[in-house]
């Protein structure tokens, strides 16, 4: 007879369970189980993974939940399990979901249900209640309160009646502890006396005995006690998934302690409950069956397919005025045919409805991803890219070969994301919408902290280690220790201290275990009114309900997810457009300011409709080619600027190619070099076969796009583009690629291609693997890239303000100060009456003629120096949002006393503002130093609230009551900069490096702006402020570290290879101000970088090299030197790594 475990916690019981659902299912399968339950704490976080794993192993799945039992004040009085009834057409599962959602509405923070709520929940007969070893009954038993225990059990009988099972568990622990045999026996006796049925479980927390140690660590982390102090957690290490034989042995031991005949009954009843709870994934869970909102919610009065067809055809004249009717109809019949056959019309209408809601709020929307391949999406307003214009392949997005819903991702302004979510909830209704969640797992830092706390190690020491664990996984920690010079010190300590060894083991055990769920940064689930029967929900950080399922669960559970991604660049663009309209309130003023000959895309109020701006603006491409692209979407990183410099884009399609090339796939498979050579005419184009010319012409014979792979496969095998996309997805998968190769070779040969051609083409396809890029995605990305560059070229001041306001990029704000200098845009200091809570463009009436800027501006734009960007109060350290609001509301101020009186600032903010010179314009006869001294001598800045005038009361004009003494003190420029950096993280008044010039006077320092004029291989010293550090993941080889520093004249990108890393040690990651010795390496006509040979910390003047360093023969030399005239292969590989480190896919997206 088999045994079914009814009480199993997986690692999705955060800080409790150890093994993943697949591990548990595999273990159950290995020991011959037929079914397996998952009853995680507080939710179904692991349920979908469990069902999938069970199906894979031929096990029948059961689902339940382990919930806290709440007493009247809302405290946990124990825990119980609810198991969903199976084969009930989803009734059991629905009640389980509803029970969990209800538990998460418990008012006192602990999710759980009261006895009464549980009683109500099980009354329909769809949930089985297990009262076992964690229940209030068992708690009383352990305390020896036998009468109470029996009374509690009797009460459960009254509350749950036939749906109650007493759950008997023993871990054969010592007398007096939980799960002791005697306790189990006593519980069984009470059940018998009360006529209750009992089942056997092992309260599983780990798949095998090895997990017991990890469970101890988790107990410690959960209870916030060190292992030594902990006494109430697992009594021993017996909570694993025991085999049927072992469970029968336990049953036998229990029966020996009670009645011999009970063993059989216990085991039989367990299996009978298992049969009750076995789920049928299809009928109970709606497995893999997509559910869309009801037609009435979408406002449909006719069949969805008919509605969709009519809507897209109606949009053709407006959106595709120039396309040939025949092309449009052909494409639409293809797309609508597929959508009809897959029955996805409702899905498209759902997405369209959501986009309509968002645009209705006046929010910028852009579709990303393969969705841009669809003309239907374009005509529905979901995507902004016309797929016909860019030759995008629909089958890359959707075809008859696909059974799951396609992903349509929507980028919106990040600043308005929450508003958008609320609108979606309001219009579809709470019963149909939920946010998606994501699992946050232990990473190295958190794991080492919790492991250290469990072991009772010294906090400071553990903290020190945790800080060093910068972007390693704990499991590679040992390896990292051996390889990373900056961890050298730690490695030595480790060797000396045996405690650290066990710490690393413990850390590795915790690594990657789930910790908690949080709101996914962009996923919104849309469904019909049955949604809350199909997913449990709990409150998210922003209050809206959030599903307990993550993105991997969506398709399997038939849940439709929409990615509504907040993109800061969209907010920055929106802000820029607002600023332009505010400054130039009519079309002709905007045209004059931006140098636009064409005003068709500017409305009478001065708003620019970017969607109508032509994509062939010459000044925009000139700016892009200059590589001064800081702040521009996707193309501002050092690696991208290098590639842009080489590629020199002249049209929109070049941007698509640029973005698509800047990926690990193309970089590693060496596509960049041939592409660039053919592009610039250094080498003749070569095509693998003349038949492939149409597919590959746009990239000069180099395969860059997924779409091209589809066309190659289709052309040579005749498989059709839909199947071609299936094969494409199998490329690079070791299990599936051989079948694709076989198919390709056979069919291409049958179509008469020579073996040589087939070999060559297959080599390209195999090398392409699954990476490469979807052209539609590149096209969707290139739109905001182009728009941001267009704004930077035509409206640099407003653009800078927008970038400052929403901070969309990868660089710290202070780098934008340098960029402003290079753009010739004055930065206007904080001012009590002129600054606001936002970065604003401001007219300057007394301007000084400025030198020509380094960054190109479109001809005919505003004259340089007439407008500047005023710094805002919002980024001042320790100044609250409310203080900013009050300060701005009280403007204008005539003297300091008014500020004190009206703004209600904290003393610290008052002092900080004085230090930043905010009050300078109010001063007469005294200076900033005097004000600072004055504010520091004040006892308190503002009156307590009760003495302040209330609304309607007149403020007594205090006049210039503040008497400021003229101290005669003056502030040093360096002091001013330090204050700016401390309080605003900006060096607005002059560049930070200026104050270090003195200590570098003895050395020949080269500036960034001079670097470009140097020959390849020149030895230089450069000094600057670190602005970016990138460490691509190691792939077998040695790690490379990229550090970018800024010296006020530009950015210098330095590459640190292994030998240099050894030389520099810890300062590689910890130092802000750097002196770098390196050799120039030319990367393109507009690009140069440094191969670093050594580096120093400017804050340690005693360590800096002496005069004549560059002549010193003992100075380091490169151990390997790139060939003169550049070696593109190396550069490409390096770019690939750099690119990887820049995390292209994530940039621009952010979580708030």
């Amino acid at each position: 007879m088999s045994f079914t475990h009814l009480n199993v916690a997986s690692s999705y019981s955060a800080h409790y369970g150890v093994s993943t659902p697949p591990q548990l299912a595999a273990a159950a399968h290995a020991m011959g189980a037929e079914a397996l339950a998952l009853t995680d704490r507080d939710g179904l976080y692991g349920a979908v993974k469990h069902v999938a794993a069970c199906l894979e192993h031929g096990l029948r799945p059961l689902l339940g939940v382990n919930l806290a039992l709440l007493d009247t004040p809302g405290r946990a009085a124990g825990r119980i399990i609810l198991l969903a009834r199976g084969n009930s057409n989803g009734a059991g599962y629905a009640d389980l979901c509803r029970s969990i959602s209800q538990a998460h509405q418990a008012p006192h923070g602990i999710p759980g249900l009261t006895r009464r709520q549980i009683s109500h929940r099980v009354s329909a007969g769809n949930l089985m209640l297990l009262v076992g070893g964690e229940s209030d009954v068992a708690r009383s038993l352990v305390r020896g309160q036998y009468v109470k225990a029996r009374a509690l059990l009797a009460d459960w009988k009254n509350l749950a009646g036939p749906m109650l099972r007493v759950e008997i568990t023993t871990h054969l622990s010592t007398r007096g502890s939980r799960y002791h045999l005697g306790e189990a026996g006593r519980m069984l006796r009470y059940a018998d006396e009360l006529g209750l049925k009992a089942v056997l479980s092992n309260a599983v927390r780990y798949a095998d005995p090895d997990g017991a140690v990890t469970a101890d660590l988790l107990d410690s982390a959960r209870t916030l006690n060190s292992l030594k102090e902990m006494d109430s957690c697992q009594p021993n290490g017996q909570g694993w998934l025991k085999s049927p034989r072992e469970m029968r042995q336990l049953a036998s031991e229990i029966s020996r302690a009670t009645e011999r005949g009970w063993m059989r009954k216990l085991l039989q009843e367990t299996e009978s409950v298992a049969r009750f709870a076995v789920l049928d994934p299809a009928s109970d869970l709606g497995w893999k069956k997509p559910v869309i909102p009801e037609a009435s919610v979408l406002g449909l009065h006719r069949p969805a397919m008919q509605e969709l067809t009519e809507r897209v055809y109606a949009a053709v004249p407006r959106l595709l005025p120039g396309e040939k009717r025949h092309d449009v109809e052909k494409r639409l019949s293809l797309e609508l045919g597929v959508i009809n056959r897959l029955d996805f019309a409702g899905y498209f209408l759902t997405v369209a409805e959501t986009v309509k809601l968002i645009t209705g709020l006046g929010v910028r929307v852009a579709a990303r991803g393969s969705g841009a391949s669809s003309l239907v999406n374009y005509l529905l307003g979901i995507s902004q890219v016309n797929p016909l214009a860019h030759d995008l392949v629909f089958e890359r997005f959707l075809s008859d070969t696909r059974t799951t819903l396609p992903d349509i991702d929507i980028d919106v302004e990040s600043a308005r994301r929450h508003e958008i979510y609320r609108t979606i909830f309001d219009s579809f209704g709470e019963e149909r919408v939920s946010l998606m969640s994501m699992q946050n797992a232990y990473r190295a830092r958190g794991a080492v902290r919790d492991a250290g706390a469990a072991l009772g190690l010294d906090d400071g020491q553990v903290d020190g280690i945790a800080k060093q664990l910068w972007r390693f996984s704990a499991s590679s920690f040992r390896e990292a220790l051996a390889e990373k010079p900056e961890l050298g010190e730690l490695a030595e300590r480790l060797a000396a201290d045996s405690q650290l060894d066990i710490l690393i083991d413990a850390t590795e055990r915790l690594d990657r275990l789930p910790r908690h769920i949080s709101m996914h940064p962009c996923g919104v689930i849309l469904s019909d009114a049955s949604l809350l029967d199909r997913t449990p929900v709990q409150p998210s950080g922003m209050g809206l309900q959030m599903s307990q399922f993550d993105k991997h669960d969506m398709d399997l559970m038939g849940l439709i997810k929409l990615d509504v991604l907040g993109v800061r660049m969209q907010s920055a663009i929106a802000y820029t457009l607002e600023e332009i309209a505010r400054l130039h309130p009519d079309a002709s003023a905007v045209a004059r300011a931006g140098g636009h000959a064409d005003t068709s895309y500017i409305d009478p109020a001065g708003h620019i409709d970017l969607a109508r701006v032509p994509l062939d603006d010459a000044p925009t491409f000139e700016l892009i080619r200059s590589t001064h692209t800081l702040g521009c979407f996707q193309i501002e990183s050092p690696g991208q600027r290098e590639l842009i410099g080489k590629l020199a884009p002249t049209e929109f399609n070049d941007l698509i190619i640029d973005i698509s090339l800047f990926r690990p796939g193309p970089m590693q498979s060496n596509m960049v070099k041939p592409y660039l050579e053919h592009r610039h005419g250094f080498a003749p184009e070569q095509f693998l076969h003349p038949d492939l010319k149409p597919a590959l012409a746009e990239t000069h014979g180099v395969t860059v796009f997924h779409e091209q792979v589809l066309r190659i496969l289709d052309t040579m095998t005749g498989c059709g583009l839909g199947m071609a996309d299936v094969y494409r997805r199998h490329l690079g998968n070791p299990a599936q690629e051989p079948a694709v190769e076989e198919y390709f070779r056979a069919n291409a040969a049958a179509k008469g291609y020579s073996p040589e051609t087939i070999d060559k083409v297959w080599e390209v396809l195999a090398g392409f693997g699954s990476f490469g890029f979807c052209k539609a995605h590149g096209a969707a990305f290139a739109v905001p890239t182009y728009h941001s560059a267009w704004l930077k070229a035509h409206h640099p001041e407003a653009f800078l303000a927008g970038i400052w306001e929403h901070d969309p990029g990868m660089y710290p704000k202070r780098l934008l100060v340098s960029e402003a200098r290079r753009m010739g845009i004055p930065i206007l200091p904080l001012d009590i009456n002129r600054s606001t809570g936002h970065y604003r463009v401001e007219r300057i009436f007394e301007y000084a003629p400025a030198a020509a800027p380094t960054v190109p501006r479109a001809p005919g734009t505003l004259r340089l120096g007439h407008y500047g960007v005023r710094l805002a109060f919002r980024d001042i350290h320790q100044m609250s949002e409310r203080e900013v609001q009050r300060l701005v509301a009280g403007q204008p101020y005539e003297h300091l006393a008014e500020v004190r009186d009206r703004a209600g600032l904290s003393r610290r903010t008052y002092q900080n503002l004085a230090a930043l010179g905010v009050f300078d314009s109010l001063l007469s006869g005294t200076n900033r130093a005097d004000t600072i001294a004055h504010t520091q001598s004040m006892a308190r800045t503002s009156l307590p609230a009760k003495y302040r005038p209330g609304p309607g009361q007149l403020t007594f004009d205090l006049g210039q009551i503040e008497h400021i003494t003229n101290t005669g003190a003056q502030l040093e420029p360096a002091e001013i900069i330090r204050t700016e950096l401390d309080l605003m993280h900006l060096d607005a008044s002059e560049h930070l490096i200026t104050s270090y010039r003195q200590r570098l006077a003895h050395l020949p320092i080269t500036q960034a702006i001079e670097l470009l004029h140097l020959r390849n291989g020149t030895e230089v010293l450069v000094a600057g402020v670190r602005v970016a550090t990138q460490t691509p993941p190691m792939r077998g080889g040695k790690r490379v570290v990229f550090i970018s520093v800024d010296d006020g004249t530009g950015c210098i990108d330095a590459t640190f290879f292994d030998d240099t890393q050894q030389r520099t040690g810890p300062l590689l990651f910890s130092t802000r101000m750097l002196l770098i010795h390196g050799i120039t390496r030319r990367t393109g006509p507009r690009g140069i970088s440094l191969q670093a040979l050594n580096a120093w910390d400017l804050h340690q003047p005693e360590t800096l090299p002496a005069a004549g360093y560059l002549e010193n023969t003992a100075r380091p030399h490169p151990s390997y030197r790139p060939k003169l005239g550049q070696s593109p292969a190396e550069t490409v590989g390096e770019l690939a790594r750099r690119m990887n480190a820049e995390g292209l896919d994530q940039r621009g997206a952010q979580s708030m």
Binding site: T174, D210, Q238
Partner: protein
């Protein structure tokens, strides 16, 4: 009841239940069904390392209470607690219950 720890040899049946014991050079047989339990092991004090894959017996000791009588059939039955450390695969005698302690 005496408490100490010294090596002891225990032979198990195929189902894991102890069958015979050799202690201080003498053989004993079991006269009652043995009882087993698992006692907490403070691995954080005893282990230098806890890498994954250590297997059973890190978080607890397997304990058995055995009613023994000399194989030669002489002497009173007495009970002992023995522990099995799965990590070292060694048996230890950890408690000798009163009856025997008096007679020994």
């Amino acid at each position: 009841m005496g408490m100490f720890t010294e090596p002891i040899e225990v032979t198990r049946a195929a189902n894991g239940i102890p069958l015979r014991v050799t202690w201080q050079g003498k053989d004993y047989r079991l006269v009652a069904e043995p009882e087993r339990w698992f006692e907490r092991r403070k691995w954080w004090e005893e282990n230098m390392r806890i890498p994954r894959g250590l297997g059973a017996g890190v978080a607890d000791y397997e304990m058995w209470r055995l009613q023994l009588v000399s194989s030669e059939g002489r002497g009173e039955p007495f009970s002992v607690d023995v522990s099995f450390d799965a990590q070292s695969a060694r048996w230890r005698l950890v408690r000798l219950h009163e009856q025997h302690a008096r007679s020994a």
